[in-house]
Amino acid sequence: MGGFQVSPDALAKVGERLTDASTKVTQVRKGLVGTGGDSSFGANQIDHPINNLIDRWQRALDDMSMDTSTIGKMVSAAGKAYAQTDSNVAGACDV
């Protein structure tokens, strides 16, 4: 048997939290822009490693945020689908 055995509302909340988490990560990622770059020590020995480090982690955070967001949307969509199914079933029983 596939699927989740969890309340649709809980599933939707998990999705929202994941989406929120992704948003926070995106903010951190944006905050890193300019951490190196022009604002530098003027010492290549330090500036280059920092810029390189920030660049690497920025790209990684992009991917991680995307993963998180995607999972969140999938979970939210699953929650909504289950909720809709519940609603449909309930409606059918009412008839």
Partner: protein, 481 residues
């Protein structure tokens, strides 16, 4: 010791310490971080600006905390809880989510670790600047000392007019033996210059070490999320390695090249040419291999071989080129065009390594590398444009108010192409006024010169009792002879 040997020593030292252009860039007399003018040393040994990264530590710490919070949140969501999460879909969800918290935790740890390293760098720079200013003060006193020593030595001998009119530029005084007191004073000043240059390089080494530790903070970037040529298997952080081409040569090839030239002085250029030829062949075969079914691995290996050989060739020939060696007919052994050609062959190896699957990602960094690489190699014989950091080679300038009347004599700077130790007169610092030149400088010591003559009976710098004018002498310096 005569002036010639002292000046020659300074020139030799400067040339030895500044083998590449990028070492010179930034060594100007003004510190942009606080506006301090290094009028004693004539250059700022520690050019970095610790204020430029204010707040970085706090900012990255906050970002790290946010990522830690995100990691904790997702970990809670992903923890399998039989009462909440059941079924295959839940398992798939948990499997996918559970990899995220460690990744976020790694990112948080990296950002958290960056702060203290930035602090360490800031402290190293600040300490270096403090020391630089101490040296600058001492150098300023030493300059003044030279001035007085020259005045003292020249007056009784009637040499002052001769010295003043002859010492333009400094090279022209080679051959004139100065008073031992003058020589010692100049010697001491050159020692201070040396200390300034050493401070520059020791700070650079310190920052290098910190930079290496910062570089390691990306070790845990998820592999599939790394980008660029750094992810080529077996090559490691190629981007880092090549980002500063001169480092590659300095670290690996220059010692080899030096040994080669020392061991085979007559054959070194020929050997370099052979290395270049083989490098080209490897590069071309590698390019072909990149397009075949064997593809990347063979091309990568051949490209790497090409890069190494080409790098060796450049390291050897660059040394020869810098000496300005000529052949029996008087033609240069190596011209700038030929050096450029060698860099082109080096590029071929890089391109070979970067083609195939990684072409798009490798070309960009390779281009940047080449720009970095070719830029600093402007050398003797090339056009040098003051103000252009790629080509301008700042000079160490001795500002001595007594010695040099070059500007008065119409000297316009002479040859701008090589680093030189020159003496330049600054009228504002001309104390005491020199009767021989007609200068009208101040008749009292500049405010930042502390006239502390040796007490009566105390030894002068040359060990003899001081006999100079009272109040006109700076603090006695240690006998550096």
């Amino acid at each position: 010791m005569d002036a010639a040997s002292v000046i020659q020593r300074a020139v030799d030292f400067a040339l030895r310490q500044f083998p590449s252009m990028d070492d010179m860039v930034g060594l100007t007399g003004v510190d942009v971080s606080d506006g301090h003018y290094y009028k004693g040393l004539g250059f700022n040994p520690v050019g970095a600006n610790p204020k430029a990264m204010n707040g970085l530590e706090e900012r990255t710490a906050q970002q790290a905390q946010t990522l830690s919070d995100v990691a904790s949140l997702i970990k809670l969501l992903g923890d399998p809880d039989p009462s909440t999460w059941e079924g295959e879909g839940a398992k798939a969800f948990v499997d996918r989510v559970k990899v995220l918290p460690p990744e976020y935790a790694d990112a948080a740890a990296a950002l958290r670790a960056l702060g203290p390293l930035v602090t360490e760098a800031r402290q190293a720079i600040t300490a270096g600047k403090t020391r630089a200013k101490e040296l600058d003060d001492q150098a300023w006193q030493a300059r003044t000392r030279i001035m007085h020593e020259v005045a003292e030595a020249a007056k009784p001998k009637g040499l002052l007019d001769t010295v003043v009119s002859t010492v333009v530029p400094v090279a022209s005084i080679i051959g004139i033996a100065l008073d031992p007191g003058v020589a010692r004073a100049v010697h001491h000043f050159v020692d201070l210059l040396e200390q300034g240059v050493k401070l520059h390089f020791s700070t650079k080494v310190q920052l290098d070490h910190i930079g290496q530790r910062i570089s390691k903070l990306d070790d845990k970037v998820p592999e599939q999320k790394k980008s660029g040529v750094a992810s080529i298997p077996g090559v490691g952080s190629l981007t880092d390695l090549l980002a500063d081409g001169s480092d590659l040569l300095d670290a690996g090839m220059n010692p080899l090249a030096k040994w080669m030239i020392d061991r085979f002085p007559a054959e070194a250029h020929w050997i370099a040419q052979e290395m270049g030829d083989v490098s080209t062949i490897l590069g071309m075969v590698g390019l072909f291999a990149d397009g075949t079914i064997v593809g990347l691995p063979v091309g990568l290996v051949l490209g790497a071989g090409s890069v190494l050989l080409s790098g060796g060739q450049i390291a050897i020939d660059q040394r020869i080129y810098r000496t300005g060696a000529v052949d029996a007919t008087g033609k240069p052994v190596l011209t700038q065009d030929e050096m450029a050609q060698e860099y082109g062959e080096f590029a071929l190896g890089l391109v070979t390594m970067g083609t195939g699957k990684f072409a798009g990602k490798a070309f960009g960094p390779a281009g940047e590398v080449l720009n970095e690489f070719i830029g600093p190699t402007v050398d003797k014989g090339d056009e040098v444009r003051p103000g252009d950091p790629k080509t301008y080679r700042p000079k160490i300038i001795l500002v001595d108010p007594t010695l040099d009347y070059a500007e008065d004599k119409g000297w316009t700077g002479g040859d701008e192409k090589v680093p030189e130790l020159r003496v330049r007169r600054d009228p504002a610092l001309c104390y005491p006024p020199d009767s021989g030149s007609g200068s009208t400088g101040p008749t009292t010591p500049p405010p930042n010169v502390v006239p502390l003559p040796p007490a009566t009976g105390q030894p002068n710098i040359d060990g003899n009792p001081y006999t100079g004018p009272p109040g006109g002498y700076p603090q006695p310096l240690a006998n550096t002879a």
